[in-house]
Subunit: 381 residues, 2 copies
Amino acid sequence: MADNVRLIAGAMSGTSADGVDVAITRIKGRGLQMSCELVHHHAHPYPPELRNRIFAVRGGGNVSLKDLADLGRDISLAYLRAVNDALAAANLRAEDIAAVAAHGQTLFHDPPNTIQWLDPALLAAEVGCAVVSDFRRADCAAGGQGAPLVPFADYLMFRDEGRNRAMLNIGGIANLTYLPAGGALDDVIAFDTGPGNCISDWLCRNHEPTGPGYDVDGAGAAAGESQTTVALAVAGGRYVRQPPPKSTDGPAMIALYLQAKRELAWQGSFADELATACEATLLSILKSLDLHLPQWKKAGLQDVLVSGGGVRNKPLLNLLAGLLSTKGVGVTALDPTLAQAKEAIAFALLAAATLDGEPSNVPSATGAKRRVILGSITPKP
Amino acid sequence: MADNVRLIAGAMSGTSADGVDVAITRIKGRGLQMSCELVHHHAHPYPPELRNRIFAVRGGGNVSLKDLADLGRDISLAYLRAVNDALAAANLRAEDIAAVAAHGQTLFHDPPNTIQWLDPALLAAEVGCAVVSDFRRADCAAGGQGAPLVPFADYLMFRDEGRNRAMLNIGGIANLTYLPAGGALDDVIAFDTGPGNCISDWLCRNHEPTGPGYDVDGAGAAAGESQTTVALAVAGGRYVRQPPPKSTDGPAMIALYLQAKRELAWQGSFADELATACEATLLSILKSLDLHLPQWKKAGLQDVLVSGGGVRNKPLLNLLAGLLSTKGVGVTALDPTLAQAKEAIAFALLAAATLDGEPSNVPSATGAKRRVILGSITPKP
């Protein structure tokens, strides 16, 4: 264990509930001196019926404990398949990895309460190694929002001595991590900007329940015409204006969109709705930069590095790049593999910290009162 | 850490959901060589409204995730108060203990699925030490019933080189651990015999919702007359006849009782129902000894040591002692403090094993395919 080098498989399923991303990472060092390298990335889609059950449970209705337990089992088995496929593809065995870092599926998040659903013992038994899971509770218990947790990894992987940099992840929700040039962990600003793809995904699920569940390559949005007043109502709403630290979730953003449609009495075609959702995402990102990142004007934000499923939405990315280039800010999509693997890598780093007994929340991002060790460790059985 | 001596606070709330028992234990050694000493026992009753919410959720209806999360929080805060009160009474601080072993509240148990509800990170943060929790999942993942887990502690604490001994715990459910003289861990037989106090408790809750929720000292049962055909229908039913390993829960036993009443078209007074419930418990214990412990006749069972809330039910204990004395078996109630603290002590021992990386399930009791390390460790934040 020279230099404390170990392999950890980060496994992440986000709020868009499209599946499990596994990032097998080689992690070196400890605490804020950790560095990491992506060994292999594997995306395992949830079966559509599992995705539908997750959305049904998250929809706010009531659920039986039997269905909830069955759901936890099936989520865990999807994690299992994802991790085992990733290990096989990377030609690794369970004995080669120190742990699986398993995010679990967010079913409920209303700090200080949070439910990240998973059976870590089942995963540990079937993969055959330790599992670190349930990362958000400890930050909530320390007075934080339990999110975002990725800024720790953003700081480790992307901070730069000379450049002011923002990491923008566009998943179901869009979130931003600002890393000032040469800054310390305490200088990190991070928060959910508002909707990512969640409104668009929801429109697609409703429009075509058996379809892919998202606007492939943003083609639908590109074909429609945005209703800017509706997009502005979402981007100018209470959530976006609220100062960080803050976090939100898909259902809240979808509700905002529906409220705006209702209040403005707007009905559009499916493509127009997709274009409007895309614009709401774009405007809420821009408005968030203006309101909550005054540094980006003064100190000069230099790079925006974009990750998450949103990088495949070319119209969105082009609009963002065009608008920010007029202010001298370069927008770059991360390498597609890294863009999709980044959150899973982040949880691998968080698990490494947990196994080392090191804290890994970023209080300036979550609002926690102190730095704490995140997660629970389920030993290799 | 000479001899690996450490203090662990075991915290247990059983299926009767009457509150949290905390046993602060001094544990020495590791694995099957562990010994332990009870430093302090403290019983913290659940507030009645919390108990009612637990029963409502467990009743089989549907629940919202918000209510479920709130319930987890309130259960965790009850654990917190219980542990903190126990520490204060024992003149100890959080820094003095290695961990809290927190069973959590069983909301659902249908192996391989099980939900032991608790927020370990909240407990770890507020007590200020590591928490080991969620002990049943790993045994379920190894093909076991996830119960009973107490036999490990029974074996460590009560095995005898010269005497064949059975530990009988009468909680909501009654369970039995048979420890043959000089036997190894693999020789242990353990299973839930059937109802403990769960039917009686349920009758009391329904009869007087604001009352104590149980038949105080068994006085109600003593005043009634048992309907033996109903008691026999419960004790002669499929569950009691089923060979171990096996486990059950309160709702299943209450359902059996209601079914027997219905099929035999019996309606009795409240006292008669309590007496019948008491007899159903007694008969299912005796029938279990006959059917599943053939050794008790051949090798000669010598001691039955009784623990759990049932030791306060004098009529039940006297009947059991009377009936078994005719077969040369001595029935002894454990010292009242030990009787009430035993399950909490057991979880302290299980947590000690987990922290040491030692397995602690008893496959002959749970039906698991292998010995495994139980529980998840949430570090001191």
